[in-house]
């Protein structure tokens, strides 16, 4: 079970078209990533809500196909 960087990016883009996304494959195993995401969608939201937006964009893959995605979300 793994998810490629491009797949993660396109899922996030689909939900947040303005998102600026940087993703690193931390272990080189397509399973442990770190992502920095900047979007207007995060404005006025708590960190929990911001991360939930990203998890929702990943449509249930987080915690399943995608084992680990460290998140750093920022408002634009």
């Amino acid at each position: 079970m793994s998810l490629k960087i491009e797949e993660i990016k396109s899922l996030i883009k689909e939900a947040m078209p303005d998102a600026k996304i940087t993703i690193q494959d931390l272990a080189g195993d397509e399973n442990h990533y770190s992502a920095t995401i900047k979007s207007k969608a995060f404005v006025g939201k708590s960190k929990i809500e911001q991360h939930k937006l990203v998890y929702r964009a990943l449509k249930g893959k987080m915690g399943n196909e995608l084992h680990a995605l460290a998140l750093n979300t920022m408002e634009i």
Partner: protein, 112 residues
Amino acid sequence: MNENIKQKINNIVSENEVCLFMKGTPEVPQCGFSLAVSNVLKHLKVNFKGINVLEDSEIRESIKEYSDWPTIPQLYIKGKFVGGCDIVKEMFEKGEIQNMLKEQKIKYKDSK
């Protein structure tokens, strides 16, 4: 999620001021993310209850629905979901966890 398990989680988070649903135990964490959150709490010398979800598959699945959060670890303070590893680390670096503990009158020690 059935009512029994929901009640069980309600009881855990209300009976323990600070509790961490994690993989492994605070003594022997089984996952780097659980280790990181556990270390933040240990660093702050906070008395917390660790719940090893690897020993309870029912809790492991239901806690995600309970908090609407797909990953473990999950930290709760006074019954409220605080966040997972990234959020807890960021809050610690900004001193926000410390403020939250202070507001909730929970003992901790900041050695910074």
